[in-house]
C-alpha cells in the first residue's frame, strides 16, 4: 500500500495569525483520511494550500512519492486532486453542464462550446457512481443535496484520484448523509482516495480509515479509528474536557408570547419561500426550527424581524398583532434578533465596538438627548457590556471588524440582551464559532429562557437544535412539516421530516 499524498511541514502565516504550523499529514491509497478539528483549527487553510488557492510559506507536498509544486488549482487538477468546497463553488444561473465544463471546455470547430459532449460524459459519470443529476438543470433550481452531487461530478469529470471533501455533511439531512457515505464507498471501491474534513465526531468514527486531529493550526496527533471514542477525539480537538450536552433544567413554559399564523413570505428574488407557516413560542421555552439550509428558515426569520415584508399572515406579540412589521416597530415591541449573517446584519464592522453596542437603541435615552448623542454614556455602557459579556478586545474604541468571530457574536448578544426583551430570535447563533464560544452562547440562550423569555432558535445543525430546544419544528420547502417534543424526538424522525416526509408518515413507520 502506497501513500498517494504526503504534506510535510506546511506552514502558513496570515497577517497576525499563524494558520498552519508545520503540519504533516499522510493519505494512503484507497483510504479515507479524516481531518478533524474545530472551526478555526486551520483545516480549510491547509486544504486551500493543497488545492493551490494559497501559497504555503514553508513545507512540501508529495503526490505518489513525487514532490510537486502546486501554485494554482490548475496544478492541483493536473496532479489528480479535486476539491468539494464547503460553500459550493457553483454558478447558480448556469446549468449543470456549464458548471462542469467551466475551465476545460471542449469545442466544436475550435470555437463553439460542445455542451452535448459534456452532458453525455456527465450521464456516464452519473451512472458509474450513482450520482443522478439532470445535466440541463440550472443550479439555482436544484436542492443542496443535488448541488453537492454536481460538485462531486465536477471533480470526477476532471479525473481526480484524490478527493477533498470539506465539511460535506453540513448542509445535508441525516438520510442524505447516509447517501453521501454510500457514494464515498463507491468512490473508494473504484480506487479513489479521500480526505474528509469535519468537526463532527460521529461522522469521523463512521467513515474514517485514519484520523488526524488539528488544533490551533497544529497537528495534535493521529489516532486509529478502532481505538478512538467520541470523548477521546473531543479532548484532542478542543484540548480539554468538553461538555457536549448543554446543561439545562426542564422548561417551564407559560402562555404564548409569539404567535405566527399562516405566514407567506417572498424572498428578494420574489420567490415565495415561506408558504403558510404557523407556530407559537411560549414564555420560558426554546422552540427550535430545524431543516436543511435554504428551506425558508432565513426568510421566516427576516419576516419575523421586519427585514422582509409579509405577503400574508399575522404575527402576534403578547396577544397584540403587529400591524406594521418594520424592524424598528418589532424591536421596540421587545424582540431581540441574533442574525444569521452577523457581518452583514449584526454589526457595522467599520464602526467602533461602543457604537455597535447601541446600534438598536442609539435614538433613545440615555444614549441620545433629543438629537444629540451622549458620548460619555455610550462609552460607559460599552465598558460595562464588554466586561459583563466577556468580550476579548483591547478597548471599546477598536472597530468591530478587528474582533474574532466569537467575540463579534458576543458583542451582538451583549447588545440584544442589554435591552428589555420578550422574545429572542437566534438564527444560526453559533455558526463558524469555536467550541468555547459555542458553549458560552448556548449558556446565555438558556439563561434567557430561564428568565422567562420566549426563544426561537433556527439552526441547520441538528445537534444544536436537539441540545437547546424544548420543542422542535422542522421546515421543508417553506412549510412546517411537524412540531415535536424535543425529549421524544429522534434524529431519524427529524431527518425524515427534513427530507419532506409528513409527520403522520414518520410515526407510522
Amino acid at each position: 500500500m502506497t501513500n498517494v499524498l504526503e504534506l510535510k511541514g506546511i506552514t502558513k502565516r496570515f497577517p497576525g495569525v499563524l494558520a498552519n504550523d508545520k503540519i504533516d499529514i499522510t493519505l494512503r491509497e484507497g483510504k479515507i483520511l479524516a481531518l478533524l478539528g474545530e472551526n478555526g483549527a486551520g483545516k480549510t487553510t491547509l486544504m486551500n494550500i493543497l488545492y493551490g488557492l494559497y501559497k504555503p510559506d514553508e513545507g512540501s507536498i508529495s503526490v505518489r512519492g513525487q514532490e510537486v509544486d502546486i501554485h494554482s488549482p490548475n496544478d492541483a487538477i493536473l496532479q489528480g486532486i479535486g476539491m468539494v468546497h464547503q460553500h459550493f463553488m457553483l454558478v447558480p444561473v448556469m446549468t449543470v453542464t456549464e458548471n462542469v465544463m467551466l475551465g476545460i471546455e471542449p469545442t466544436k470547430n475550435g470555437i463553439f462550446l460542445d455542451k452535448e459532449k459534456v452532458a453525455n460524459r456527465i450521464r456516464e459519470i452519473s451512472d458509474q457512481y450513482g450520482l443522478e443529476v439532470d445535466p440541463n438543470a440550472y443550479i439555482k433550481d436544484l436542492p443542496v443535496g443535488i448541488q453537492q452531487r454536481v460538485e462531486i461530478i465536477k471533480v470526477l469529470y476532471r479525473q481526480a484520484n484524490i478527493l477533498i471533501l470539506d465539511e460535506p455533511t453540513a448542509v445535508l439531512t441525516p438520510q442524505e448523509v447516509e447517501g453521501l457515505f454510500k457514494i464515498i464507498d463507491t468512490l473508494i471501491k473504484s480506487g479513489k482516495s479521500i480526505i474528509f474534513i469535519t468537526h463532527k465526531l460521529k461522522e469521523v468514527l463512521a467513515v474514517a480509515d485514519d484520523i488526524t486531529v488539528l488544533r490551533l493550526g497544529k497537528v495534535v496527533g493521529s489516532i486509529d479509528p478502532k481505538e478512538a471514542t467520541s470523548k477521546k477525539l473531543a479532548v484532542m480537538m478542543v484540548g480539554r474536557d468538553v461538555n457536549l450536552v448543554v446543561d439545562k433544567k426542564p422548561a417551564s413554559p407559560a402562555e404564548p408570547v409569539l404567535v405566527v399564523e399562516n405566514l407567506y413570505v417572498r424572498d428578494e428574488r420574489q420567490n415565495l419561500t415561506v408558504q403558510g407557516v404557523s407556530f407559537d413560542v411560549r414564555k420560558g421555552e426554546v422552540l427550535g426550527i430545524a431543516g436543511v439550509q435554504g428551506n425558508g428558515q432565513t426568510e421566516l426569520v427576516y419576516a419575523l424581524t421586519g427585514l422582509l415584508p409579509l405577503e400574508e399572515g399575522t404575527i402576534r406579540l403578547l396577544n397584540e398583532p403587529i400591524l406594521r412589521t418594520t424592524p424598528r416597530n418589532i424591536l421596540e415591541r421587545g424582540v431581540a434578533h441574533i442574525p444569521e449573517d452577523r457581518q452583514r446584519h449584526g454589526l457595522i464592522l467599520s464602526f467602533p465596538i461602543h457604537d455597535n453596542l447601541m446600534l438598536c437603541t442609539y435614538y433613545k435615552k440615555p444614549f441620545a438627548n433629543g438629537v444629540s448623542l451622549q458620548e460619555k454614556i455610550i462609552y460607559s455602557n460599552a465598558e460595562d457590556l464588554v466586561e459583563q459579556f466577556d468580550v476579548r478586545t483591547p478597548n471599546i474604541y477598536v472597530n468591530a471588524g478587528t474582533l474574532s468571530g466569537g467575540n463579534q457574536q458576543k458583542v451582538i448578544v451583549a447588545r440584544e440582551f442589554s435591552r428589555p426583551i420578550e422574545v429572542l430570535i437566534a438564527s444560526q447563533p453559533t455558526r463558524g464559532l469555536d467550541v468555547g464560544s459555542i458553549e458560552y452562547i448556548h449558556k446565555q440562550i438558556i439563561k434567557k429562557r430561564d428568565e422567562g423569555t420566549g426563544v426561537l432558535v433556527v439552526s441547520s445543525e441538528l445537534d444544536e437544535i436537539l441540545s437547546l430546544s424544548d420543542r422542535i419544528a422542522v421546515m421543508y420547502k417553506g412549510q412546517i412539516m411537524g412540531i415535536l417534543e424535543a425529549k421524544t424526538a429522534t434524529k431519524e424522525q427529524l431527518g425524515l421530516l427534513m427530507a419532506g416526509v409528513h409527520l403522520a408518515e414518520t410515526t407510522q413507520s
Binding site: Y51, L53, Y54, S72, P73, N74, I77, M83, H85, M89, L90, V91, P92, V93, M94, E98, N99, M101, L102, G103, I104, E105, T107, I111, F112, L113, K154, Y264, R266, N271, L272, T273, Q275, E311, E312, K477, G478
Partner: protein, 418 residues
C-alpha cells in the same frame, strides 16, 4: 421553488397600477393631442429619403385627428382589459404605452405638415451608434464584474486621438485604429487600478472621466484651437451603400447606407452575442462575473479574464469615441460626448447586460435624440431646450423603471480577493 399560491397582494397592486397607467395614457393622448388637432388635417409621414438609392414608394398619409383618437382608444382599451383581467407581460404593456403615445405625438406634431419617417429612423440608428458602443463596452466589462463608468472619458480621449492622428496622417483608418488602441490603453489603466490596487471602481471611472475631460480640453485649447486645419480637420468616413440591399424601401436607407463605424457596431452586436453565449471565453467571462471564486477553483484566471474584458471594452469605447469625430463631424470639440457614455450605461442596464438588449435600448435613446432634432425642424411649440432634455429624461425614466428588475451579474463591482 414553484409558486402554487394564487395571485398575491403585490401582484394585484402591480396589475392595477399598470392598468391605470394605460388608461391615463389614453386620456393624456386625448387631452394633449386629440383636442388641438382639427378633423380635416392630414399628417404625411415621408417614407423616402432624398439622395439614397432606395426605390421610391408612396408616403404614408393619415388623417391626424382620427389617428390620435385611435391611439387614445387603444391605450384606454388595453388599460381597461388589464384592470379587468390582467396580462402577464408588463414589458409589452409598457411598450403599448410608449408606442401609442409616440405615434399620437408625432401625428399631432406633424399635423398639416410632412414628417420624414425614414429620415428619422436613419438618424435614430446613427445617433444610437455611440450609445450602443458605450453600452457594449459596459456589457463586456460588467459581465466580468468590472464596472467601467469612465466610458465618457475614454470616448473623449479616443475622439481626440482619432481626429488628430487622422488629420496628421491624412488617413482615417490610422485615426480609427489609434482611437481603438488608446481606448484599450485607458481601459487597461482602469483595470490595473481596480484589479491590482482594488481602487473603488466607480471612483476610478470618475477619475478617468475627469482626466479625459482635462487632457482633451488642455490639448484642445493649447494646440487644436490655434491650428484647426492642420490638426483638427480630418473629414469623415464616407457612406457605403451595400449593393442591392440598399435599394429596399425604408430598410435600405436605414440599415444599408451607413458609414464604417455604424456597420462595425452592427457587426459587434452579433459577434459579441455569439462570443458571450457560445464560446469558452464567454462561459468563463460569465462565470467570473457571477461567481469568481468558483471560476478560480476550476483554474480560470479571474484577473486575466477581467483584464482582457475591460481592455476589449475600452477598445469598443475607443471605436465609439472615433465615431464622434471621424465618424460624424470630422472635428473635435471640448466635452463633445455630452453624457453619451452614461446614457450608454443606462442602455446596458435596460438591455439586461445582453449585447442585443443593450443595442435595442440604445435605439430607444437614439430615437429620443433624433426626435428632438426633427421636432425643432417642425417648429413644435415647445422650447428647444426642453426637447434637448428628452434623452436625459428618458434615461432617468428607463433606469428607474427597470433597474429593480434587471439583475446585474452577481459579482458586479466587487474586487476579487483570493
Amino acid at each position: 421553488m414553484t409558486n402554487t399560491h394564487t395571485k398575491t397582494a403585490s401582484e394585484k397592486r402591480r396589475q392595477t397600477s399598470l392598468g391605470i397607467t394605460l388608461l391615463a395614457t389614453g386620456l393624456l393622448i386625448y387631452l394633449l393631442f386629440g383636442i388641438s388637432t382639427e378633423s380635416e388635417q392630414l399628417t404625411t409621414f415621408g417614407l423616402n429619403l432624398a439622395g439614397t438609392q432606395a426605390m421610391p414608394i408612396g408616403d404614408l398619409i393619415v388623417p391626424a385627428q382620427a389617428t390620435v383618437y385611435l391611439m387614445s382608444a387603444i391605450a384606454a382599451f388595453v388599460g381597461a382589459y388589464q384592470l379587468a383581467r390582467g396580462v402577464r407581460s408588463s414589458g409589452a404593456l409598457l411598450g403599448i404605452v410608449a408606442f401609442t403615445f409616440v405615434v399620437a405625438f408625432l401625428t399631432w406634431a406633424a399635423a398639416g405638415k410632412s414628417f420624414n419617417l425614414t429620415g428619422m429612423l436613419t438618424s435614430s440608428l446613427v445617433r444610437a451608434t455611440p450609445i450602443a458602443l458605450a453600452a457594449l463596452c459596459g456589457v463586456i466589462s460588467e459581465r466580468s464584474a468590472v464596472i467601467n463608468i469612465g466610458i465618457e472619458g475614454i470616448m473623449l480621449i479616443a475622439a481626440q486621438v482619432a481626429v488628430v492622428t487622422a488629420t496628421l496622417s491624412q488617413n482615417l483608418y490610422v485615426g480609427l485604429i489609434l482611437a481603438i488602441l488608446i481606448g484599450g490603453a485607458v481601459a487597461a489603466f482602469h483595470a490595473y487600478l481596480v484589479i491590482r490596487f482594488k481602487v473603488d471602481q466607480i471612483v476610478s471611472g470618475v477619475a478617468i472621466n475627469i482626466i479625459g475631460a482635462g487632457v482633451t480640453s488642455f490639448i484642445s485649447s493649447r494646440f487644436l484651437q490655434k491650428a484647426t486645419n492642420t490638426l483638427n480637420n480630418s473629414g469623415t468616413f464616407p457612406i457605403i451603400s451595400i449593393p442591392g440591399l440598399s435599394k429596399i424601401p425604408i430598410l435600405g436607407p436605414v440599415l444599408f447606407e451607413n458609414n464604417l463605424v455604424v456597420y462595425l457596431t452592427l457587426l459587434l452586436v452579433v459577434v459579441m452575442h455569439i462570443m458571450l453565449f457560445h464560446t469558452p471565453w464567454g462561459l468563463r467571462t460569465r462565470a467570473v462575473g457571477e461567481h469568481p471564486k468558483a471560476a478560480d477553483t476550476l483554474g480560470v484566471n479571474v484577473y486575466l479574464v477581467r483584464y482582457v474584458n475591460v481592455i476589449i471594452g475600452g477598445m469598443i469605447a475607443g471605436l465609439g469615441g472615433a465615431y464622434f469625430t471621424i465618424g460624424s463631424v470630422g472635428r473635435f470639440d471640448e466635452i463633445m460626448t455630452a453624457g453619451k457614455g452614461f446614457i450608454g450605461l443606462a442602455a446596458m442596464i435596460f438591455g439586461k447586460w445582453n449585447p442585443i438588449g443593450a443595442f435595442s435600448s440604445s435605439l430607444i435613446f437614439g430615437f429620443a435624440d433624433s426626435l428632438q432634432v426633427k421636432l425643432q425642424i417642425l417648429r413644435v411649440p415647445i422650447p428647444s431646450e426642453f426637447l434637448l432634455m428628452a434623452p436625459y429624461i428618458v434615461t432617468m425614466i428607463i433606469l428607474t423603471g427597470v433597474v429593480g428588475r434587471a439583475i446585474p451579474p452577481a459579482a458586479d463591482g466587487q474586487p476579487y480577493e483570493k
